[in-house]
Each structure stands twice: as C-alpha cells, then as structure tokens.
Symmetry: C2
Subunit: 446 residues, 2 copies
C-alpha cells in the first residue's frame, strides 16, 4: 500500500480528470483546479475537433473500469470516407474491422469530471494558478496575475493544464530546461452538420469523413444526436486561406466551388464561419517533465501535438498508463517513479509529434492520390498474407500498444521498402504478383 | 532625415550599446536600461569567455567610426595553437594572414558604454524591466516581479537583453510565436593564466590556444595585461565531467594527467575551479523578432548560440548592420524596416546557430585528428590555386560578409566533395597531385 499523499492536479481536462481517478484508486487525496468554470454548467462548443478514441485511450480507461461508461457516448468509425470530385470512397482503418471512436470533447470532459468526482476527487473551478513553488509543491492562486495570491501547499502537484501550462511555465524558468513551441501556418475552424429532422445522420454515421483538397481539408466526425462536428483546416494566408475568406459571399462561393457536396448539409455555413474562432495548431516539446518528487507534467502540458493522427488524447491517457506502471513498480519512491516516467515517455511523445505533423500531408493530399491508394492496397495484401511481418503504420499507432517510437522507426523502414516497390516497372498491373511479394520479403529486415 | 523618435533599449550589453550609437547618429533619443549595476563600476569576471572579434563585428563598429578605439583593446590571433600530447601545432586561420581578435568581454562592454554615452545615449542601471506593453512600447519597471511597477512609454523598444530576454518573454505569450531553447549537456568554467612577472604572455600571444580532448577541451585567449582567459568546456555528467571533479585533489590530478602542460601556467587552478561558477550553454531560436513598428529583438535576445564559432557577438553586431541598411532604405517606415530586418536575418541566425553547434566537434576532436589536418591541407592547396572557386567555410564565416546561410550551404557542398576526395586510395600520399585537383574541379557545382 502506498503512502497516502495530498495531491493537486492543475487542469480539469480529460487527462487531469482521468489521472484523478487513478490517484484516488491509489489512495491519495486529490484536488483538481481549473481556471475555467465547471464545463458541466456551461455551453461548450465552437472551437473543438471531435476526439477519436483508439486502443491506447481505451486501455487507460478500462484499467480503472470507466471504459464502458465512455463507450456509451462514443460512435464507432471503422473507415475513412473520402469525398473527392463528388464521389465517395471508403478506406477501412484496420484489416480486421477495427474502429476508432468519435466522441465530442465537451461530452467526454463532462463525463470524465463526473467519474473523477465519483472516485472522490474534489474540484475547484474558476481558481487561477499563476505560479508554483516547485520545491514546496505549493500553488499560488489568485484572481489576476498582478493581484493578491493565496499559497496552498500539497505533497505533490501534477500539471495537466495543456499546451500553455502555467506549471510548465515555472519549470521553463529553471536552467537546463529544453523547450520548443512551433505553430503551423495552418489554422482550423469548427463547422456543423445538423441531424436530419428524424434524428438520423446526414452522412454515413460510422465513417470519419474527409474532403482532401491538397493545402486544406475538411473533416466531419459523427455525434450521438445525429449531427457531425466538422473541422476546416486551412492556411492562414495565401490563395486558399482564412485570410482570403472575409465575407459571407466569399465563404459561400468558396464552398460551392470547392466543396459542393457539403453545401446542402452545412446550412449555417456563413454564420458558423464568422461566429466560430479560427484556432491555431502548435507542436510543443519540453524536457524534463518532472521536478524531484514534487511536480510532474502530463498530457498536452509536456507534449502538445497537432491533431492529424487523432492521438493527442490517446497519448495523454497513455502517459497515465505508463505512470501507473511505475507507481506499481516503485511504490512510494516518487522521485524514481517520475524519473522513470519521463525517461520512458519522452521518446514516444517526440515520435507521435513527428507522426502527427507528417500526417497532415497524408490526410489532405495523399488520400486523394491514386498512387497512395495503390500503396495501401499492396500493403494490405502483404499484411493479410504475412500478418507477423507487416503491421501497417496506422494500425501500429492506432490499434496497438507498442511504443510510438517503435511505430515511427518501423514505419520509416516500411516506407523505404514501399518506395522501392513502387519503382517496379508496371507496378499498377502487377501489384498483387508474387514478384512484388518477394521484393518486399527481400527488403524486410525484421 | 528620419523623424526623431524616443527609443528605449533594454540591456546594456555589447549589442545594446552599439545599437545606441547607431540610433543616436540617426537622430533619435535613446534610453538604455539594465537590471545590473554599471559594469564600469564593478568587478566583472569569473564567468566569461573572451570574445573573438572578426570581420562582421569590425564592419559594424567601423561604420560608426568606433572600430579604432576598440582595436586599442584587442589582440590579433592569426592562428590556432593546438596542444596535443605536449606538442604544439599551429594552424593559420586564413590563407592571407587574416586574424581574429581577442577582447575581454568586460573591457569591451565598458568601452561600448562609454562610446554610447559619448554619442548621447542615456543609461539607467539597476532598473529592472518586468514586462512590456508591446502595442504601446511601454516598459514596466520595478524592484521586484510582484512589487510596484512604474510604466514608462516610448515610441519604440529594442530588446537586447540576451538569451533570457524579458522583452521576448512577453512576445512569447503572443499566439503564433515560434520558440525553442535547447541546452547542451556540456558546460563551461573560466580559468586563468596570469602574466609573467615582466608582464609578457606565458604562451604565444597571437594564438587562440586549444587543448582538444575529445569530449572536453580547454581554450585560452590572450588579454592585454599579459594574462590569458581560459575556458574549460566539459560535460556536466559522465567520465570526464564537472560532476566527477568535486574536490581539489580530483581537479589537480585530472589536469596533471590530461592537461600536463597547463599545470605550470595555471597556478590557481583549484581555487579558480571552485570559485568560478559552471555555466550552461544554450541555443535559443524564435520568430517573429518584431512587433508592428513598436518592438524589435536584437542579438542574443532573438538568436542565442553556443560559442564554438566565436560568432555570437559578431552575429549580434551584424544584426545592427542589416537593420541599419533597412533604416537607410525605408526611412520612417519602421514597420517595413522591422519586417525586412527579421525576414533577412532569421535564416542567417539559424545558419550560424547550426554552424556553432557543429563546431564543438571540430574544435574538441577533429583539430587533433590527422585525417582532419590532411583535409585542411588539401583545401588550402586547392583554395590557393583557385581562390575564386574555394573559400573554406571558416573563412567564409569569419573573414567575409556573405550571409551565414550561404556559408552553411556552400560549406555542406564542400564537405560532400572532400568526403569523396578523402576516399581516394592512398590520398595521404597523393594529396597534392593533379588527380586530386581534377577530382575537386569535377565535383564542384558552383
């Protein structure tokens, strides 16, 4: 039995709430602080991308028996639905019917807070943390940055306060703290496809819908109420850009010309476009993630990634899985737990950041590309015949629990092989031949 | 004639002081703030590396006629003096006797502040800037971060406040601000070789002395008073590391064993070793560098680099040269000046960061390596015969005014050629043959 500690978690998002459940189960007292109001009591919308829960996320939820109650608010998506030239093509995600699960961020966050409360965590909303005394695990809480602060001391503090974490902000001011933040020149905006009058979905419900357009793309993920949450990813500047769409007519003309099959299903296009903010996309990396046995960062607070692999939340939940394994292994030695956690997790966080960054190209351009689809067909055929020798990158990231860093390394190897294969003369005719199979077998080095 | 503005410069270091001279000559009113006391009135030592002024630095000084007064405190170094196995080898820096110039940081900083004052700039020491209102070019000045602040408004603010700039700190909190800081696992410590009793230098005065030891190295640069400022670069952890040298005996034994020819010339080794701090080495990059026509970063505040190319100060001074060119070109349009400045300068700042990072390996390992010396000999021979076709990388960085980014690109090309050349059978015998010459000519693509 571990010694019971008094622990503060800064940030009541998905990772903070699930971490609270784990820490409560380990017998600790848990206070969760958030600068925002209780999300259960306010409208939450207009700037989110629907979540895609996959195996890593489910594992972390199921380990504390909350997976099933989350499944109630999730919709399985077993394929991409690619909208190109008013045609629809389906690409299954897995070879064995595997699915990822669409969940609205607001709905899941409310559920996670309920679950943490049920587990005995105590929430403090609209409490702003401005600074943290790292060595003392003491929070500085106040109305404003320059106003009066109250100091509240704990045994330990977790920063799960996201990409712009205040806890990390204090750690950044230590010497030898590596840090980077890099913004994409692409932003995003939420749009909305309402349900049919009878409550059914206007597009195939069990698909992740993509309109790949090269330098921009639209995606749509299903909600329980028959609607879809859409996200338009687009450069801030340039020809097809947010800067070029400044009035109703421009927006409507743009969609009519470039995304004609969306016009009927997005009735409030222009209203939503100008009501909803344009949000930025940032990759944030840092190290170390912990301070002695007192403070640890988790989730986006230590590894914010762009959303193009659907792994942000899954990676954050997997942080908890890994942390928990070391809690089991090292008992009360939190310095050892923290050191092992950051050391184990950092290469995987860097790997999923890289994979997510690269995947924008795959989603926005390559899914519409014949040669890319041929690659996928060849991979699929080989993988079905030699499942032990070839698990495609997407599956390794999404439907396995192998480290992200391994997925990146093996994925690069597979890509090098497929680059060779695609150079074979007349590959489009002999893609399912023994020659291609032999070629791949000859190049595989694992 | 430009409109006269009231300008604040935050940071009274080398770049801030020289910038003040330029802005005064352009007719502006200039206030310089520094959180530290006036360096002219205090002892400054124990944590610096001597500066190596080269062509880019001199150009910026000479353009406002202060070069000659700086030359009075500089010592020419026309070669590296490599100490290996108690032997001494000399490597000239240029092919035409070019030199870099050793200057102690404290001495130069005092001189630069004098020069800025003579030009009419007003200094405010021991004034701490805690925040900047970017849109209003307003400084927040106070004793402590949480105490009372006084707001002082200017037309424009320059942040020349170094790698941990407070001005940049405010810009960092803007959206879309790219930022990275990365620490080396290597630190450094200042040591001291005093003058001979008669005031002469104990080692060759006109050399940059290096003891290359692989994962660590010692350097020594001459001072006017006959002494040398030495710097020991060494990993924080590991076999040969600061962590492994924790008492007098360990330090003395280490130097006796590994750097025996320094023992006689560093009499206060152990005292200095434990009195002087171990400093960190950081590479910091960011973008943008400016805010509207109100705020601009310059020098280390926007591009802190590791010291292994001797270009930190030179790059900062060249920022001023470039800024000044755009001041001449765009007159009162400071938004245009700032945009052109950051756009022009960013790729060059990234390039010298990369070159400086790489150069640690060259200085600490390769200068002791036979194959490296052979490369240098081949390059020298070819360059002397075809001066228009081959300017070595070091010369392009140090003795030219061509952009750093060009130096990096051409340097990479030259390295690829030399990699090929070094693969020629028996290269060590035919290094000065026509075959080698033809090989290089055939591979050159510019």
């Amino acid at each position: 039995m571990q010694k019971s500690l008094s622990i503060a978690i800064v940030g009541s998002g998905l990772v903070g709430s699930l971490l609270a459940v784990y820490l409560r189960k380990a017998g600790h007292s848990v206070h969760i602080y958030d600068r925002s109001p209780d999300i259960r009591k306010i409208q939450f919308s207009g700037r989110s991308i629907n979540l895609a829960m996959s195996d890593r996320g489910w594992k972390a939820l199921d380990a504390v028996n909350v997976g099933d109650s989350v499944r109630e608010i999730a919709i399985a998506m077993d394929k991409r639905a690619i909208h190109v030239n008013n045609e629809l093509k389906f690409q299954p995600y897995g070879f064995n019917g595997e699915s990822i699960y669409s969940i609205s961020r607001g709905t899941l966050n409310r559920k996670m807070i309920d679950l943490a409360e049920e587990a005995g965590a105590e929430f403090f909303f609209e409490k702003k943390i401005w600074d943290v005394n790292l060595a003392e695990a003491t929070l500085q809480i106040g109305e404003t940055e320059r106003g009066e602060w109250e100091a509240v001391k704990y045994d330990m503090v977790f920063g799960s306060d996201g990409a712009f974490s205040r806890v990390r902000h204090r750690m950044q001011r230590q010497s030898m703290f590596d840090y980077s933040q890099e913004f994409l020149p692409t932003g995003y905006k939420e749009l909305h496809i309402p349900a049919n009058p009878d409550g059914t979905h206007r597009l195939d419900k069990n698909s992740f819908h993509i309109w790949p357009k090269g330098d921009y793309m639209l995606i749509a993920l299903p909600n329980l109420d028959g609607s879809f949450t859409c996200t338009l990813f687009m450069p801030f500047e340039g020809e097809n850009s947010f800067a070029s769409l400044t009035n109703r007519k421009q927006v409507e003309d743009f969609f009519e010309k470039n995304l004609p099959d969306t016009v009927d299903v997005i009735p409030n296009l222009a209203e939503d476009f100008f009501k909803n903010p344009t949000s930025t996309l940032v990759t944030m990396k840092c190290f170390p993630w912990t301070f002695e046995n007192k403070v640890a960062l988790i989730g986006d607070a230590c590894h914010a990634i762009v959303p193009f692999y659907g792994q942000g939340m899954n990676a954050g939940f997997e942080d908890i899985t890994v942390l928990h394994e070391f809690m089991e292994e090292f008992g009360d030695d939190w310095e050892k737990i923290f050191k092992a956690y950051e050391k184990s997790r950092k290469p995987d966080a860097d790997a999923i950041a890289e994979l997510s960054y690269r995947n924008f190209m795959e989603m926005s351009s390559k899914t519409a590309d014949e040669s890319f689809l041929l690659r996928k067909k060849i991979e699929k055929r080989f993988s079905e015949k030699y499942p032990d020798k070839w698990l495609p990158l997407y599956s390794r990231v999404t439907f396995s629990h192998r480290p992200y860093s391994e997925a990146l390394a093996i994925g690069d190897h597979q890509k090098a092989i497929m680059d060779q294969v695609m150079l074979l003369p007349q590959i489009e005719k002999k893609w399912d031949s023994e020659e291609v199979e032999e070629k791949i077998l000859g190049l595989l080095r694992f």
